[in-house]
């Protein structure tokens, strides 16, 4: 396989170890890379009104055949280990109230269909925006009178994936209006804020330079439709906030805490940037 590379000098050029972005172009149709985005064989979704993106593309189409194969086969996809645990927990009684998720929500396929596609959501009682992990933990503490699950624990990841999987194939559909609007605006500000020693915003990589290589990684639009995601690098399932922390760290910025208001607001804004993309949970990424 041969392809030309073009180095693009970025504002970070002189920093030692700074990120260099490299574009690559496949040379002929017969010489395919196996990566759908590069081969021009990917699906797109129309961007929502006001979106800075001309079309929406799932991160799936930026990955190698090997990685996509793992996601395509529910058996090979290691995330299903956690999903099975989520399924067991769904009908496990815990807490003072003597209830399980199933006691109130009964059949998961019926009660949770579409739910995961609509989070984060404004929560009236607290006057805050909450994401799916937080919604699940609210049910644990308030409805079940059980301990909340720790962030990034196998239990919380498994249940979040299990609930969101009930929306698989359905379009991401978050509300950014009414009471959610101020949170959305904060998330948007975060997205465009340059940060860290490398002075880069999310947009620097995922809006302006998707389709380019950054070291060995082909940059995608940084969409959230596959989370929680099994990442080969992590060798386990991980939350979207874990990914945010990684993306903050790689520009040498101090990451925020998992479950922080900053990240939940960002999560809403990011979900809207992928409004209409099919939910893939649990996706597999490199």
């Amino acid at each position: 396989m041969t392809f030309k590379t073009i180095a693009i000098a970025l504002a970070v050029g002189s920093l030692a170890g700074g990120a260099a972005l490299v574009a690559s172009y496949g040379s002929s149709a017969a010489d395919k890379s196996g990566i759908p985005y590069r081969d021009g064989e990917y699906e797109t979704v129309e961007a929502p009104e006001g979106s800075p993106l001309s079309e929406l593309i799932s991160g799936y189409y930026f990955r190698t055949p090997e990685t996509r194969e793992l996601q395509d086969d529910d058996f090979m996809n290691p995330a299903f280990i956690w999903m099975e645990q989520g399924a067991e927990l769904w009908s496990t009684v815990e807490g003072e109230a003597g209830e399980s998720c199933a006691s109130c929500h009964e059949d998961v396929e019926a009660s949770m269909k579409g739910v995961g596609a609509s989070y984060p959501k404004y929560h009236e009682a607290s006057g805050k925006l909450i994401n799916l992990e937080q919604r699940i933990n609210l049910c644990r503490t308030e409805s079940m009178q059980a301990e909340p699950w720790k962030w990034e624990s196998d239990e919380l990841l498994g249940m979040t994936a299990y609930v969101r999987h009930q929306s698989k194939g359905m379009p991401v559909n978050v509300s950014i209006e009414g009471p959610a609007a101020p949170f959305f605006e904060k998330g948007k500000d975060f997205y465009y804020q340059r940060r860290g020693q490398l002075d880069m915003a999310c947009a620097t990589c995922h809006e302006v330079n998707y389709g380019m290589y950054i070291r060995a990684d082909l940059l995608s639009q940084g969409q959230s439709n596959g989370f929680p995601t099994y990442r080969l690098k992590w060798q386990k399932l991980g939350s979207l906030h874990r990914r945010f922390r990684g993306c903050n760290r790689q520009v040498r910025a101090v990451p925020y805490a998992n479950g922080s208001d900053e990240y939940v607001n960002l999560e809403l804004y990011l979900a809207w940037r992928g409004q209409g993309l099919p939910v893939e949970t649990p996706a597999v990424r490199q």
Partner: protein
Amino acid sequence: MAKKHKPRVKAPKTASPGEVMEIKTLISHEMESGQRKDRKTGELIPRQIINRFECKYNGETVFSADMHPAISANPYMAFYVKAGESGELEFLWHDDNGDVYSHSQKLEVA
């Protein structure tokens, strides 16, 4: 994980004589390579991997694999077995610590 080392097996329950069956297996396991250091103490984290996988068909080993460090967590294994007589398929994962995780299921050949 709360449920450590949980095997998953995808193998047919019925087959015709002589049929070549695809069998897929996966087990949750960290596959600690023995080469990583504990971030806080700087000490090497002891190796703990599944070092051998076996599939037995009516007690006879029909497929086995020795595994080494650098095999990823949650190892996936797919292979083919030819259907003979009805009976039992047994799957065994041998852990460095001496534990053996197993799963068995019936196979009907007709």
